[in-house]
């Protein structure tokens, strides 16, 4: 009888534990790819900020569009609030990462080399947090 009770208890515990939804979205190859490719694209465009913003408008618009797509992708995934919030901070023109960098470039027309270099280090770090979170998520094949 004792064995039967224990088995029922264990089965109930397994049922309760396995019926809980995961706390956070699993790993997404697409999200990982967005972040790694956009990191390269962003740092490369920042190199041009010593030159006139107007001359780089097409590149800036393309990057903004690609960043917005990545943000929308993150925002649309269920239980993915942490990643979505990271993208939001990264692209916000009022904050001081790539969104703010592009705004500053536009308002100042061109930026100084030391400032670009220091901003690149920070924005690379910011992308690394997005990549680090995505790659640390549970993978379906684990």
């Amino acid at each position: 009888m004792k064995v039967v009770y224990r088995t029922i208890l264990a089965a109930l515990l397994v049922w309760v534990l396995s019926s809980c939804a995961p706390s956070i979205a699993p790993f997404s190859q697409q999200a990982y790819q967005y972040a790694t490719e956009l990191k390269v694209e962003t740092l490369s465009l920042m190199e041009r900020a010593e030159n006139s913003f107007a001359d780089n408008l097409t590149h800036v618009e393309k990057l903004k569009m690609d960043l917005a797509k990545a943000y929308e992708f993150a925002k649309g995934r269920p239980r993915n609030e942490h990643s979505a919030r990271q993208w939001e901070i990264l692209i916000d023109p009022e904050r001081n990462l790539i969104g703010g960098f592009l705004s500053r470039w536009e308002s100042e027309r061109q930026l100084s080399f030391p400032f670009i270099q220091q901003s690149q280090l920070l924005i690379a770090d910011a992308f690394d947090t997005v990549i680090g979170l995505e790659s640390g998520k549970v993978r379906f094949d684990d």
């Binding site: 088995t7 397994v14 500053r104 400032f115 979170l133 549970v138």
Partner: protein, 98 residues
């Protein structure tokens, strides 16, 4: 109960480590950055406006890093739950002799 205790012993340190490592790294990087920017400001390589912008930028990165640590901790909890289900199922099947 011993299964549960084993799982907690195995998984809890890794959750704690994720959060502590992230905090330690953020502090170390911030102090290195500030020292470098102080020197650049003194040398006139960057303006005071740029200095302020960079400090705010570092704060935003810290915020993003905190989100990463929180997300990774949740991910470890999911892994912990999955391994717990696996262990209990295995033990239950052994008890009933399947």
């Amino acid at each position: 109960m011993s299964i549960l205790a084993d799982q907690v012993r195995e998984n809890l340190p890794s959750m704690r480590e994720v959060i502590l490592t992230s905090g330690r790294d953020a502090l170390r990087k911030s102090s290195q950055d500030i020292a470098r920017w102080n020197a650049m400001l003194a040398a006139g390589s960057i303006s005071s406006k740029e200095y302020k912008w960079l400090v705010n930028s570092r704060i935003s990165v810290i915020e993003m890093d905190t989100l990463k640590a929180a997300g990774l901790a949740l991910s470890r909890i999911d892994e912990f739950r999955a391994s717990l289900v696996q262990s209990i199922t295995g033990a239950a099947l052994r008890v009933v002799g399947v």
